[in-house]
Amino acid sequence: MPTDKKTLKELYTRTLKVRLFEEEVWELFGQNLVPGTLHLYLGEEAVAAGVTTALKKSDWIQSTHRGHGHVVAKGADMKAALAELLGKKTGSCKGKGGSMHITQFDVGVLGATGVVASGLPIAVGAALSCQMRGTKDVVACFFGDGASNNGTFGESLNMSAIWKLPLIWVVENNFYAMGTPIKLTCPSQSIAQRAEGYCIPSKVVDGNNAVEVYEATVEAVERARAGDGPTLIECQTYRMKGHSRFDPAKYRPKEEAEYWLSRDPVDIIKKLAIEQGALTEAQAEKIREKLLKEVKRAADFAVKSDFPEPEEALEDVYAEVA
């Protein structure tokens, strides 16, 4: 079933929302307001937008070190998200996590992890929990091409397959593990090919096209909710910027970078939505203005928020025993 107009509009909105959020983060970073490091999601927005639009609020996502986009697309409060990146008391993790652990549990984010590939086992457990508790909720687990070379990839895909778990494995293949190109680390043509060994159906999609990501996810979610087990979706995409904050990504061939940067995920979904009559140029602009205002308000909140008291470092190590 082709994606309907309402959904096209939603895909445009979510893709753009993540873009504007990340642009704001980059700006705040430039003002030296973001401590530590950053792994920006710029360029990969269509993956988070496409996947989360196919999910319900009660469904879960597992995020990564490059997680801002996942969390915002799943519906996180941007004020708390930006405040967290600035290390503020009002941040979603009270300033204890920052960029690599940006998490909002109440909108269905299981967590963002600083250890590559360590989210996969957690997603297995959350999906097992959905299955054992008899909910119809599903789990979408984001990870990169680099994570697929870690042992937990094999362990977790295998476990998800033997137990037919309601899981969608979402590979964000941006072709580089930090600076190492995939051709040096992966012998197969695609990450999706690796799923075959675990008897998991898979699909390769254009990760810069939110509609392709969305449609593949809808199919995977249907399979998961029906009890037919996991699916792997490989979303081929590209970082607009380097791996982390000071990486100019000079190791990427010029022609390759130009090709991908000419395929901006926001432009692609906007064009598709307008072509299908889901949006007019004026409506698209209006959505942009509204989102931008929301992002600016969130940034203002984050900047004006207080830092935690130093002694708060001692809190939240253990939960109180009832």
Partner: protein, 324 residues
């Protein structure tokens, strides 16, 4: 009271919690019907509770613990069994980076109510990959609780407390205590974490130890009693939280302290306890603190080598004599 083995007392505790709370389930390698756990602790539970709640897994330690973490933050209470403590090295990321830190790094948004059961210690001639005592690693990881039950009557109450605790608990058993029999209360009971037990009262020397070494310590105390040395034996039962007070109070009384565990000596839990007592109880010490540990080598295989490696009664007794 009913006499039962440590293994059966542990199983009884698991069973009671599974009956009490349907969110509790067990996962691990060979925990199910075909085997019932490498040390037979879960034998019979799959028949009673079904394969879903007593779940055999592939040999994937990191994902066993990670799956327990994911299940726990979404509403279940998993008890993950890692067949040998040595194999927990394969799951250290999930144990130490995820389970231990999630509550903290997410600012208290979630908690991780899992129990990781595993087995430490030597004495079975199964060499360097199946005999280590690694509890200090977990005591050194903020966010984890660590239980080290050595007696049947404790293990039942402590496993129930571990399952009800909202935090991740590393539950360390010792492979030589499963068959030891003891009177165990047959009524419902739990044992709070952080409460040491004075296993034997004494006046001259405090002997603090864990796991199988406690059984040796008690034999030594009996032996030394004949020599006129009165030894007080303290079992912390949990390392995190640690009952400092019972130990300090005992040192106030005896003025002398010997620490014994089966760990290799450098940075063993005994090192932390010795440091803590000199910080908080220095004024009451009448002699230097003595530590009895294994040498800093891997655990050897051949019986005479392993016997040399594991602290024995002779060494423990000598350490006590040295301080009086």
């Amino acid at each position: 009271m009913v006499e039962m083995t440590y293994r059966d007392a542990l199983k009884a505790g698991l069973r009671e919690e599974m009956l009490r709370d349907e969110r509790v389930f067990i996962l691990g390698e060979d925990v199910g019907k075909n085997w019932g756990g490498a040390f037979k602790v879960t034998k019979g539970l799959a028949e009673e509770f079904g394969d879903a709640r007593v779940r055999d897994t592939p040999i994937s330690e990191n994902t066993i613990v990670g799956a327990a973490v994911g299940a726990s933050i979404t509403g279940l209470i998993p008890v993950a069994e890692i067949m040998f403590g040595d194999l927990i090295t394969l799951a250290m990321d999930q144990v130490c980076n995820q389970a231990a830190k999630m509550r903290y790094m997410f600012g208290g948004q979630t908690s991780v109510p899992i129990v990781i059961r595993t087995v430490f210690g030597g004495g079975k001639n199964i060499a360097s990959h199946h005999s280590q005592s690694l509890e200090a690693w977990f005591m050194h990881t903020p966010g984890l609780k660590v239980a080290v039950p050595a007696f049947a009557s404790d293990v039942k109450g402590l496993i129930k407390t571990a399952i009800r605790d909202p935090n991740p608990v590393l539950f360390a058993e010792h492979k030589l205590v499963y068959d030891r029999k003891e009177d165990v209360p047959d009524e419902e009971y739990t044992i709070p974490f952080g409460e040491a037990k004075i296993r034997r009262e004494g006046a001259d020397v405090t002997l603090w130890g864990t796991m199988f070494m406690l059984h040796k310590a008690l034999a030594v105390a009996e032996e030394l009693h004949k020599e006129g040395i009165s030894v007080e034996v303290i079992d912390p039962r949990t390392l995190v939280p640690l009952d400092k007070q019972t130990l300090i109070e005992s040192v106030k009384k005896t003025g002398r302290l010997v620490l014994v565990t089966e760990e290799t000596k450098t940075l063993a839990t005994t090192a932390e306890i010795a440091a803590m007592v000199q910080e908080e109880g220095f004024d009451w010490l009448d002699a230097p603190i003595k530590r009895v540990n294994a040498p800093d080598t891997p655990v050897p295989f051949s019986p005479p080598l392993e016997q040399f490696f594991i602290p024995d009664e002779k060494r423990i007794a000598q350490a006590v004599r040295d301080v009086v």
